[in-house]
Symmetry: C2
Subunit: 397 residues, 2 copies
């Protein structure tokens, strides 16, 4: 268990304040758990008030004692409700905010209305793009945590090689691997920011089930166990010569890793083997493109174009009609952070310190899916891989 | 895997329309996953448009084919974005809605603003209280699913009796029990509606760790593994003669159960044994109070008063300063449904068909916590228990 160093918190707050200046915001009020963890070092129920300049105020309803223990912030205060905010601000000599940033992509309307009542003359702006920009650049400290998460998922991969067998259900395989990760210190919970997004540890499936599309905004879906959570492992049994896909999110001290590997008991079809090799080539292309200054959209466009050239126009990143418009996604505390290696992001550029998962995948309805996924870090010395498991297709006998 | 019968969906929609009439709503647009599952039988990305009268329209962006397969609704339509809603409505001869219900307790502001742009003259009302009222009365079909979830958590309980041992960490115990539940068909994901609420399978902890308060709106918190997810099992090792608490949520076909049991390797202190027996008495009192027509608040008030009389004013439902204001909660697809057995709900009455967990607990800082939790069903023949594990304190040798 690590506590976020106070200097990390100070630096993060300073960067947010720089962006607030650009956006002419008097204050940002942070409420959502992932953002609270990033800017305070703990997840307690409360509001973090970040003024345009000066100390942030962490106002905590539950548990203020624990927040003081876990947070490196100087000002951790008890409060009962948001009505306490104006008196607290005046006590600190902070002015009445006119332009207030809130996390409007996640904040429910009923909460928003309370802030509107509190400050009826204020203008409320979505602060999430600013917060995303701060969070997308990882510090050395964060890279350490991300490496731990990458090492965890490698242990899951090693275990998968030992246990995958014909006749095992996808659910049994998922249960075994989740168990390994959990004993390794995985917190269980995987945070995903987008509204209505739901994710468990992993999406694990074999053969035809891998090609079943679902509601998640992911290239693969899976049958799942029931229509209430129609994604991931179902009750299909693993057969010989078909692809088994393990797309697993590791988690250490709140930081994520993302890895996909393919296994087969016996030789898979030539079509599937070829498709797998082709996805490795697309990964290779990505590593040759990514550098500081290249746009997220360009990485997407060039890798997509290669997939189309290879003949996968109707299979890449989902079966025809179910294709998603990204190949990669940033990750850290949430699994859908900046950068989005996605269509249309041509004004957003790669920067040193970005961490992202890249997951070229192809889907063949009625047959299965293949692909690869690794977690990468754009360091001062260029692109590095955080996940260290071997890329190869694992053929088991 | 069960598909929700079409007659169930029809009945649910009709009940919602009855409440919409009372609230003078022209339409309710349902977007959130748990509500979508309840009213459509599937969770796909889309909007369910419920008119004041007539067929509901399930407009699906991803995956419409799967929605047609899993949903018993008559009208399942493809759509690209909410801009398609007006032409779809006019095609079905539905008028332009003036008073629209949305799930304002969960809908993020950015989404809300798009509906406002679509219908700039409409009034938007929170539909969640109406939806909650429909969902709080469980059908016979739902009771079957809830019983399956209750049976699952009994298997977890039986396994706990076999494996709890001195020297095991709370995390190891959690990992073992989660593994049992998962292999039993637990979907993993536990849905909780309240903003920023996060829950994994269970809160499992021993001795002093059980008394550590945390951010969740639950009587017990726990250290957890790290400040990013500061609840539930941590790395403390189980010692002799201390209480081990297993608060576990089962899940079958999307429906939940909730059970808490206490274990001890060797004899716990007299204080803790007495407190446990007292919580059983409070459970007994609750079962004698609950009947159709009694208010949720009265159940809370009378049980709380008994705890105070017993001398637990500073310990009941959390340690002093961290006490929660409920003793029970409805559950079904989400773990925080109506009824709330909570302070202040004196105008809300118990009705036939309600299902709720009741969890009297006491916390002694620096020592531990004890309590009991079962899932109950108010049937035509009175209160029944769905969870069937024995209530007794399990003393292991």
């Amino acid at each position: 268990m690590r506590l976020t160093p106070a200097v990390e918190l100070e630096y993060r707050c300073k960067k947010l304040q720089d962006y607030m200046l650009e956006a002419s915001l008097d204050a940002v009020i942070i409420i959502q758990n992932a953002d609270l963890f990033y800017f305070t070092g703990t997840v307690q129920k409360g509001n973090l008030y970040v003024p345009a300049s000066g100390q942030p105020l962490f106002m905590v309803r539950k548990e203020v004692g624990r927040a003081r223990m876990e947070s490196g912030l100087k000002e951790v205060l008890p409060f009962e409700s948001i009505k306490d905010i104006p008196p607290i601000l005046s006590k600190y000599g902070y002015g009445v905010p006119q332009r207030i940033g809130l996390e409007l992509d996640v904040l429910p309307v009923n909460f928003y209305r309370r802030y509107q009542e509190l400050y009826p003359n204020a203008v409320f702006v979505d602060a999430t793009p600013l917060i995303r920009r701060v969070r997308m650049i990882k510090s050395k400290y964060e890279i350490h945590l991300l490496k731990d998460a990458a090492d965890q998922v490698d242990r899951v991969y090693q275990r998968a090689k030992e246990i995958i067998a014909v006749g095992m259900t996808d659910l049994e395989l998922a249960a075994e691997l989740e168990y390994i990760a959990r004993k390794d210190g995985h917190q269980g919970l995987i945070r995903m920011r987008a509204f209505n997004s739901e994710l468990f540890y992993a999406q694990i499936f074999s053969g035809t089930d891998s090609a079943v599309p679902g509601y998640p905004d992911t290239p693969l879906g899976g049958m799942g166990l029931n229509p209430s959570f129609g994604q991931g492992a179902g009750l299909k049994r693993i057969e010989a010569n078909e692809m088994v896909i393990i797309d697993f999110a590791g988690c250490a001290d709140g930081y994520l890793s993302d890895l996909t590997r393919i296994f087969s008991v016996g030789q898979p079809s030539e079509l599937m083997k070829k498709a797998f090799d082709d996805m490795l080539e697309i990964q290779e292309l990505m590593t040759s493109i990514v550098e500081v200054g290249v746009s997220w959209g360009e990485i997407y466009d060039r890798c997509s174009a290669m997939a189309v050239e290879m003949g996968y126009g109707d299979n890449f990143m989902g079966a025809k009609g179910s294709q998603v418009s990204f190949i990669g996604h940033g990750l850290g505390i949430e699994i859908d952070e900046y950068p989005f290696i996605a269509r249309g992001f041509n004004n957003m550029l790669m920067e040193t310190g970005m961490v992202f998962a890249f997951e070229p995948k192809v889907v063949f309805p009625g047959e299965g899916a293949v692909g690869i996924e690794n977690t990468f870090y754009l360091s001062n010395e260029g692109l590095k891989r955080l996940t260290r498991s071997s890329d190869e297709l694992v053929i088991l006998v």
